[in-house]
Amino acid sequence: MEIPYTIETREDTGVNNAKLGIWLFLASEVMLFGALFTTYILLRIGSADDWSQLNDILNVPLATLNTVVLISSSVTMVMSWASLMMKDFKKYKLYMGLTILCSFGFLIIKYFEYSAKFEHHLYPSTNTFLAIYFTMTALHGLHVIGGIIVNTYFWGPGSKMWNTQPERFTNRIEIAGLYWHFVDLVWIFLFPVLYLL
Amino acid sequence: MEQFLGLPPEGSAHAHEIDQLIVLLHWLMFALFIGWGIFYTYVLIRFRKAKNPTADYTGSKSHMSSYLEIVVAVVEIVLLIGFSIPLWANRVNQFPPEKDALVVHVVAEQFAWNVHYPGKDGKFGKRDINLVDSDNPLGIDRNDPDAVDDIATINQLNLPLNKPAIIYISSKDVIHSFKLPVMRINQDAIPGQVIPVWFTPTLAGDSEIACAQLCGLGHYRMRGYMTIQTMEEFTAWLDEQAASL
C-alpha cells in the first residue's frame, strides 16, 4: 500500500505531507533561533558594557554585501521553482546552480569576516557580545551548509526524479525553497541585531 | 495535621504561616484523595464483571464532577490569593529597615558557608576576590577602614532572638542553596548575584544550615550551624569574636 498524499493534497487539510512537514520543522527552527534571540536580549540587558559600541568592530559593508548575496539566492531559488512549474528543466538547472553559487559566496565572505576577527585576536571568549555573535552566525552558517547540501543534491543526482515524477520533484524544490527562505529570513534578523543595533 | 505531617519546629515569626498553608493544602489533597478513593473503590466492587455482566452504554449521568472541579478551582484560588501570594510578597517586598535589623552577609563556596558580620561600626568592609586565600576565604580587605572590625566565621551563623535578621546571600563559585529548615527559609546562592532574605528568629537554640542545591562532590556535607541567642549572649559572642581578631 502506497503512502497517500505524498504528492497530491489531502482535501480536508489542504496540504500534502511534505508541505506540512516542512512547516512544522520550520516552527521548531523558529523556537531554536527564538531561544537564541531571547538569550541575546537577556545578555544585552544584563551586560555592563554598551553593546552598540562593542559591535563597532564588525564589518558592516561585508555583512551588507552578504545580505544582498543571500537575498539574491532566495530570488534565484524562487526562479528555479517557477521554472519547474513552467516545465523548463534547463532554466531550473541554471537558477538552482546560481542559488548554490550564491550560498557559497555567502560562506566565503563569512570566512573572510571570521578570519579578520581571529587575526585581531577577537574570539568567542573575548566578550559576551562576540560569544553570541559567533554562536548565532555559526549556527546560521551550519544551516546554510545544510541548504547547500540539499540544493546540490537536487541540482545533481536528485534531479533525475524530474524524468520519472516531475510533480513530486517540483514539490521537493518548493519545500527546499521554503527552508532556504527561512535561512534567509534568519539572516535578515541577525544582520541588524548583531551588526547595527 | 501539623504533627501528622512531621514538619520541623517553627523557629521564626513567619514559619507558622507557611506551615498553615502546607497544612491547608494537605487537607485539600486528603479530601480529594479520600473522596475519589472511596468512589473508586465502591465502583470497582459494584461494577466488577461478576456482579455486573453487562455494561451500561451511557454510564454516569451525574454532573457532580463538574461541580467538584469548580470547588477544587475555587479552593486553589483561595489558597493562592488568600495565602501564598501575600505571604510571598511579605517575604520579598516587606523588608524591615536595616537599622532595626541585624544585617549579615553569607557567601557560599564549595563546600562551606562564609559568614560576614560588619562588626561594631555596622559597616561592611570591602571584599576583593584577589585577596581570597585559606586564611581569608571571603577576601576581606583589612586595609579598608570599614573592614578593620569586621568579623568572619565559617559555617557558624549566630543571630539574636526576636530581632529581624537580613541576610545577603551570594556565592563564590557555583549555585548553592541557603536553607534553614527550622526558619522556613530557602534562597539559592547564585554567583554574580546578591539576594537578601529576612526573618525574625523566635526560637532560641541550635539548628542547621543545609545546602539544598547540588554543588559538587561535597554537597552532602555542606552543612553549617545556626545559633539563636538572646541579645546579651549574642553581643557577648560578637565581642569574643572581635577579641580574637
Partner: protein, 628 residues
Amino acid sequence: MQPNTKSVAQHHDVHQSEHHELSFWRKYVFSTDHKIIGIQYGITALMFLLLGFMFMMIMRWQLAYPGAAFPMYFFIAPIALMGVVVLFITGIKPSVNTVAGLSLVAMAALIWYLGSSDENFPDGIMLPEFYNQMGAMHGTIMVFLGVVPLAVGAFGNYVMPLQIGAPDMAFPKLNMMSYWVYFMGGVTMLISFFVPGGAANSGWTSYPPLSNIATTGQTIWLLGMVFLISSSLLGSVNFIVTIVQLRAKGLSFMRLPFFVWAQFVTSFLLLLAFPPLEAAGVLQLMDRLAGTSFFMPSGLVVSGQILPNTGGGTPLLWQHLFWFLAHPEVYVLILPAMGIISEIIANNTRKPLWGYKSLVYAAIFLGFMSFIVWAHHMFMTGMGSTISAFFQTTTMIISIPSVIILSALIISLWGGSIRFNTPMLFALAFLPMFGIGGLTGLPLGLSSSDIHLHDTYYVIGHFHYVVAPGTIFALFAGIYFWFPKATGRKMNETLGKIHFWGSFVCMNFIFFPMLIQGLAGVSRRLYDGGEQYAHAQSVLYLNEVMSVAAWVMALFQIFFIVNFFRSIKKGEKVSDNAWEATTLDWSATTSPPLAHGNFDTVPEVHRGPYEYSVPGQKNDFTPQHQKA
C-alpha cells in the same frame, strides 16, 4: 517479536517465490516499517529503563548503608544470569531475544567495569563523585532514553498508525533515521562512562556553573542530548503529519482514539519545547569548549583559583532555557501514559469513555499551558512577587485539566462491567498513584509552601509518584495490552498478576517515605541520605525501608522479563482482536505482514472510538470500521 519466527520461515520460501523480498538487514535492522521501528524503540528503551533502574539500586545501597562496602556481585549476578537465560530461550538463532540477552550481559559488564574501578569504589566504598554520576545518569536515562522513547517512540510508532488506519508513517525513512539518531544518543551517553572523570555528574538538570566546570563527561552528555533532541524533532514532525494527513476515511478528529490525541499533543510539545534546550546545549558547549561565558559571571573563585573567564553571563539563563523544555517534557512523560490508560479502561469496562470531549480539550489545554509554567522550578532563585504570582497562577490553572482528565477516567468506571486482567490492573493502579503524584504537585506549585519543600525529597516523591507508579505502570499496562498485536500471543496472566501486585506494593514503600522525609526537610541529592543532618535523624530509618523495597521490586521485575521473553515463543495464541476491542489497530491482522501495508483493505471508519455495549447490538463491541 513475531519477526524472529517469521524470519526463519520466510528465509526458506524467499528462494522459491518472491525474489525482491527485502534482505534481513533492510527488514529488521534498517527497516522503514513503523512496526519494526516501534519494536526497535521498545526493546532499546526497555534496556535503558533497566539500566536506569540498576543505577538507582546501586545508589540506594549507599543511601541505606552510607559508607558500607558495595556488594557488587549481588547486583550483577541476577542481570547476567537473566541475560544468559534470555539468550537460551531461542538458542543461537538471531532474534529479539538474542539482542536482549546480549544487552543484559553487556549491562552486567558495564556495572562490573564501574564497580571494580578504584576511581569509583576505593576499597569497595562508593565515592560521592560516583554517586553524583549515578544520579545524573539515572535521571537522564530514565527520562530521555527510557520513558520518552518507550511511550512515544515505541507505543506511538507501533500503535498510532494502526489506530488511524494508515499504511505506515508519513515519512518512513525519517522514522528510521529518528530511531538511529536516538540509538546514537544512547551510545554517546554510555561512552561518557569511559572518559576521564566518568559520566556527567551535575544532575540531570546540569545547572551551570557547576556543569561548566565539570569533567569531560558533561561535554559528552551535551553531545548525547543534541542527538536525542534531533531524534525527537524528526519523530514529532513525522507523528504530527501522520496524524493530520493519514487518517482513514471517516476518521474525523473527534473520532480519534484518545491515545492518538495524546500522541498528537505530545508531539507538539516535543516539537516546540526541545529546540530551546538544543540552543542551551549549544551555548553550554561553547562555554565548555570555546571559553565563552554565557552562563558565568566574572570573578568566580573555584578551589582557591580565580577562573579566567570574562564573565557577562548569568547562570539563570540556563535554568530558564532548561525548564522551558523540561516542564513540557514532564507532560510528554504523562500524556502518552494517559492515552494508554484510556484505551485499556474503555476496553475493560466494556463501555465508552465518560466525557471523551472533555478529555480531548483538557489534553490540548494542558499542552498550551505547559509552556508557561516553567519558572515554578525556580521560585528560590530570588524571584520577585509579580513574576512568582504569575507562575503560581499558571501552575494552579494547569492542575485543573489534570483533575478533569483523572475525574473523567474514574467516572468512566461507573456502569462498566469491569474485567480485572493484568493490563487493567496496571491501568487501575495508575489512577490513584497519579493522583498522589499530581496532588503533591500542588504544595510545590505555590511559592510560599515551596520554600519549605523545594529541593527536598518531597519533590522526588512527587514526581516519582507520577513517573514510576504512574507512567511506568501505564507502560507496563500498554505492553501487556498490545503484546498480542505484535506477537499473536498473550503474556501469561498469573506471572503478570504477580508482577503487578509485587510492583504495586513495593512502589508505595519506595516513594511514600520520600514524602515524609521531604516534609521533615531532608534535601535531595545527598550522598549519605542526610545522615549528617539533625533534622533528618527522625526519618533516617526510612532510607533502608526504601532501598529494600527497591531491591524487592527488582526481584518482581524478573517475573515480567521472563514472562515477556517466554511469551514471544510460548505464549497462548490469540486471535487478531485479542481483547474484543473497537479501535482500528485491532482490525489490522496481527503483526501485519511487513512492508506490505497494515490492512488488507483500506479501512473506512463509521463511528467513534469506544462503541462498547451499544444498546441493540449483538456483540458488546462495535468496531470503528463496522458498517452501520
